[in-house]
Amino acid sequence: MNNNATVFVVDDDLAMRNSLKWLIETVGIKVETYASAEDFIKSYYPGRAGCLLLDVRMPGMSGLELQEYFNEQGIKIPVIIITGHGDVPMSVRAMKAGAVDFIEKPFNDELLLESIRNALDLDQDQRSIQAERAEIAARLAQLTPREHEVMEMVTNGKANKEIASSLGVSAKTVEAHRARVMEKMEAASLAGLVKMVIAANLYGDH
């Protein structure tokens, strides 16, 4: 768990905000409280680790609207919905929009804290994948076009000779390119290289 991870509580009720802060801080997690979705959007910047604890029913921008806003912006932050109405249709909408959990008021503290921990873990995972992908992308950027060609063929399981004949170069040249690719990509083995390419393809097409 990242120590920088913060739980952002958005609730129009002051007592609710403060009591949540009081409760969550007991387990050593940073808590920031906002009285409205608008306040939160103003202060939040993408890339901050943490999760969002969101009351569905609020004056002004509602929790659902905030979710939609994040989806539009491509901001990936785990959202836990707090509902006081047992409003099942609303909760279903929230879940569909990407909320990781919803909790009914009044809530059991254990359930809430467990849910927050899961959300923060998910956030961290998302962040690490994001970071890895960025690293691979940076490495891929170092490759020359010819090296990129060779890498694709290699990862597609082609032998050096085949690559050489298709590119119209000698096998030795191919081997040299291949060695440079392995070096630039910091790949220990062919399997590692393939993993990287897959990861890059998985997350890099956005």
Binding site: A15, M16, S19, T26, R57, G84, F107, D109
Partner: protein, 832 residues
């Protein structure tokens, strides 16, 4: 009078006939007499001739007899013989036996003469001597050789001489045989063979000397009597002998009829005639009298009639009746009468002319103003009259139309035969019903446009010709109206709703196609009778004259029926309406209404509860959070104090409990479809009491449940009834807050009342309802509570009434309020 005239006339006729008739009769009689005398004379002469002829025949027989011929054979008479003739007294040998003379008078002598006419032998039959002229040579006969029979007078006596040639056996002529018969009374009487009626005599008359030589009865008519003497007593008719002119004597055959006989006949005739005349006169008198009597009677009658007629028909102008001769009176009358009749006839003629003129004018006016086209045609179909309406309707002017053939002018080719057939029909059937004479046809206007007409043909049988009046009525409008009426009439048949008509006895006279379902419900067909219940309804409706509505269900289809009487005709019209869909819609509307009630409940109590829950949840959650956070901090700090941790745990638990209460509240107002189901009202009450238990306890009241031992089943929407009861209990609890705690009591009762309904009563010991509030109790937004919305009772009443129940509030005599809810029991529901 008439008798006298009759008798007089009879006498005149008698006298006249008396003057005229005898003379005529006499001349006729004389003429007749002469004829008769002549005839008698001829008859007597013929008999005489026949008699002579018989003698002649006898002579011929004797002359040619074989005995004579045999006798003469040896004899030869010499001329010079001076011998006296041979004389026989008895029958000579040359004669046969004397049986010859049976019917004849015997001649006096039979002579044999030689060829020189000299008498040779004589046979004398009687005493009479032979006349001397016949002795010797009969000179008399010489000159008349050829004469066979002749009359002559010998010695003043008339004789008949018959000679016949005699021959001997050798055929030599010897001489002749002669019969000499004197014509005396014997001969004459024999010649008439005893036929002598009425004393008629015959005689031989010497015409020169006018004397009679012989007669059939010498006693009455003597010998040698002269004619004038005889004619004094007899009518004499003399005739000449034509055949016996043997002598130079002028002898005549006379027939004498005595005058006495003639006179007798004449008298008889005269008597007969007189009798006849008498009869004629009498007949005449009686006939004349009768005729006259009848005539006068008739005249009298005519007079009376004329008098009556003139009185009656011609008014006061009565002919003056004068006493006197009836005929003159009659003549007078007739003159007067004729005059009167003339005057009257003139008057009538004038009147008739005026009337004719008026009638003509009237007819003309009718013709001109008639709404129908009136066209008159003759037997050949040529138009002879054409009225202005016809001009207008058909577009032909009168001048154009006259003289044209009607059929060709008015009809096209297809319709012409129909009209001609019609004409034939009209001609063949004399008396037609007016309706039968109407026919619908299609006529053609001048421009060629066709239009429907109604047509009637009326034959007019004038004195010497036949004409037809044709009435034509343009029925285009009527056709259109008929079509419209027909299409209107089709409304009923086209109606998707059942429409029926029944008569007084409940027989279905008409039912449109949409009525099948209803007919099926009644189990009857068209023209059949409705079931008894409905028949009774029909007669009730007709009697009252008022509409009646009803509703029937057949195979899940519900019909609303409106029965309307048509009193004048004795019918009842039944208008049905399939209200199945409407009922369904109504039911849906009711559901919708329930939905609305529910929504309104949500928006009042529910919404309030939800809002409350939310509002309560916030502080509850905060409490729980703080408590939990405090526990964790204490645990983390290690300075934990058990009693504080217990208290914090209690805080958290109570917050959870509060949350649970809120959840239950929410469940109560949760969205549920209003479903009616059979439920025991006692269960419902128990449930509701558990809801308010908390509040009641808070108020310091124990809700006392006085429920019936038996289950009270009703068909209800449980949630809605719960809401109502909840509302009532809460109101009661609110009311109890206003009084001291030890006086508070709340009772809820359930029972089945006399009407079989379920009665629920909520009784509190509060202050009751103020008099002024009583009326407004169930008005919306009327409340006595500071925090109330004033909707609770309104919603409650809506719900209860929706269940066909009622709700009311009374102030209890011992203080407080009683709310009563009446609901129909389940059993009752079934019946409905």
């Amino acid at each position: 009078m008439s008798v006298i005239i009759g008798v007089f006339c009879g006498l005149v006729v008698w006298a006249m006939l008396d003057q005229v008739q005898p003379q005529a009769l006499r001349s006729i009689f004389l003429e007749e007499l002469e004829n008769r005398l002549n005839q008698q004379a001829r008859e007597t002469l013929i008999r005489f001739d026949n008699y002579v002829l018989a003698h002649t025949s006898t002579a011929r027989l004797l002359a040619n007899h074989r005995q004579l011929a045999n006798y003469l054979e040896p004899i030869y008479w010499y001329k010079g013989d001076p011998d006296q003739p041979k004389y026989y007294r008895s029958t000579p040998p040359w004669l046969p036996s004397s049986t010859l003379w049976q019917s004849l008078v015997r001649p006096s002598h039979i002579l044999l003469l030689d060829s020189d006419q000299r008498t040779r032998e004589i046979y004398q039959l009687g005493e009479r001597n032979l006349p001397v002229e016949l002795e010797g040579t009969n000179e008399l006969l010489l000159s008349e050789r050829r004469v066979q029979a002749s009359l002559t007078t010998l010695g003043d006596r008339p004789y008949l001489l018959i000679s016949e040639t005699a021959e001997d056996a050798t055929g030599t002529e010897m001489g002749s045989l002669m019969l000499v018969a004197p014509i005396d009374e014997q001969f004459l009487a024999a010649s008439q063979q005893g036929v002598s009626p009425n004393g008629v005599l015959v005689g031989i008359l010497d015409a020169d000397e006018q004397r009679f030589l012989a007669s059939s009865d010498p006693s009455r008519l003597g010998f040698q009597k002269y004619l004038p003497e005889v004619e004094a007593n007899y009518s004499v008719t003399a005739q000449s002998f034509s055949e016996y002119d043997g002598s130079t004597l002028n002898l005549q055959f006379a027939t004498l009829v005595p005058h006495t006989v003639v006179e007798e006949i004449r008298d008889r005739v005269a008597g007969l005639e007189r009798r006849q005349r008498l009869v004629a006169a009498f007949t005449f008198v009686s006939v004349f009298t009768l005729v006259f009597y009848l005539l006068s009677e008739r005249l009298n009658r005519i007079l009376r009639r004329v008098s009556r007629f003139s009185q009656r028909a011609l008014g006061s102008k009565q002919p003056v009746i004068e006493r006197g001769n009836q005929l003159f009176v009659l003549e007078d009358w007739i003159h007067q009468f004729i005059q009167l009749v003339r005057e009257t006839r003139e008057e009538m003629r004038q009147q008739h002319e005026t009337e004719m003129h008026e009638s003509e004018m009237l007819k003309q006016a009718i013709m001109e103003t008639a709404l129908d086209s009136i066209i008159t045609i003759d037997r050949q179909g040529v138009i002879i009259e054409f009225n202005p309406t016809a001009e207008q309707t058909l577009g032909h002017s009168r001048d154009q139309a006259l003289g044209k053939v009607f059929v060709e002018l008015i009809f096209n080719q297809q319709n012409q035969p129909q009209f001609l057939r019609l004409m034939d029909d009209v001609l063949s059937s004399r008396d037609q019903h007016p309706d039968e004479m109407r026919h619908e046809m299609t006529a053609i206007k001048r421009g060629g446009a066709a239009f429907p007409v109604e047509l009637a043909i009326k034959p007019i049988r004038l004195k010497n010709r036949l004409a037809f009046t044709i009435y034509m009525h343009d029925i285009s409008n009527r056709r259109r109206i008929e079509l419209e009426i027909r299409s209107l009439a089709k409304f009923a048949s086209e109606s998707p709703n059942p429409i029926l008509r029944v008569n007084r006895r409940g027989v279905i006279i008409y039912a449109n196609n949409a009525s099948e379902q209803l007919l099926g419900y009644w189990g009857c067909e068209r023209a059949q009778t409705l079931p008894l219940y409905w028949c009774n309804r029909v007669s009730d409706i007709l009697r009252s004259g008022r509409d009646w509505q009803s509703q029937v269900t057949n195979n899940e289809q519900v019909f609303s029926l409106l029965l309307t009487p048509v009193v004048d005709l004795g019918y009842v019209n039944i208008y049905g309406r399939d209200i199945t869909v409407e009922l369904e819609a109504e039911r849906q509307a009711r559901e919708h209404q329930q939905e609305l009630i529910h929504v309104s409940r949500l928006s009042t109590m529910g919404e309030m509860a939800t809002g409350l829950a939310h509002e309560l949840n916030q502080p509850l959650s905060a409490i729980a959070n703080y408590a939990n956070g405090s526990v964790r901090r204490l645990q983390a700090s290690g300075r934990e104090s058990d009693d504080i941790l217990y208290a914090l745990g209690q805080i958290s638990a109570q917050a959870d409990r509060a949350g649970e209460i809120i959840k239950r509240l929410r469940a109560l107002v949760g969205k549920q479809a209003p479903v009616r189901r059979v439920a025991d009202i006692n269960d419902v009450i128990r449930e509701v009491c558990s809801f308010v238990e908390f509040e009641a306890r808070k108020t310091g009241v124990e809700i006392e449940q006085q429920l019936s031992l038996n289950a009270l089943t009703t068909k209800i929407d449980v949630v809605q009834i719960e809401q109502v009861l909840l509302n009532l209990l809460r109101n009661a609890l609110d009311a109890l807050l206003e009084i001291p705690e030890d006086e508070r009591s709340l009772v809820i009762q359930s029972q089945c009342n006399e009407g079989g309904q379920v009665l629920i009563q909520v009784l509190d010991s509060g202050t009751g309802i103020k008099e002024k509030d009583q009326a407004r109790l169930f008005e919306p937004f009327f409340t006595t509570k500071e925090s109330g919305m004033g909707m609770g009772l309104v919603i409650s009443r809506t719900i209860i009434e929706d269940h066909n129940g009622s709700i009311s509030a009374q102030t209890r005599a011992e203080g407080g309020t009683c709310f009563s809810v009446l609901l129909p029991s389940d059993r009752k529901n079934d019946e409905q």
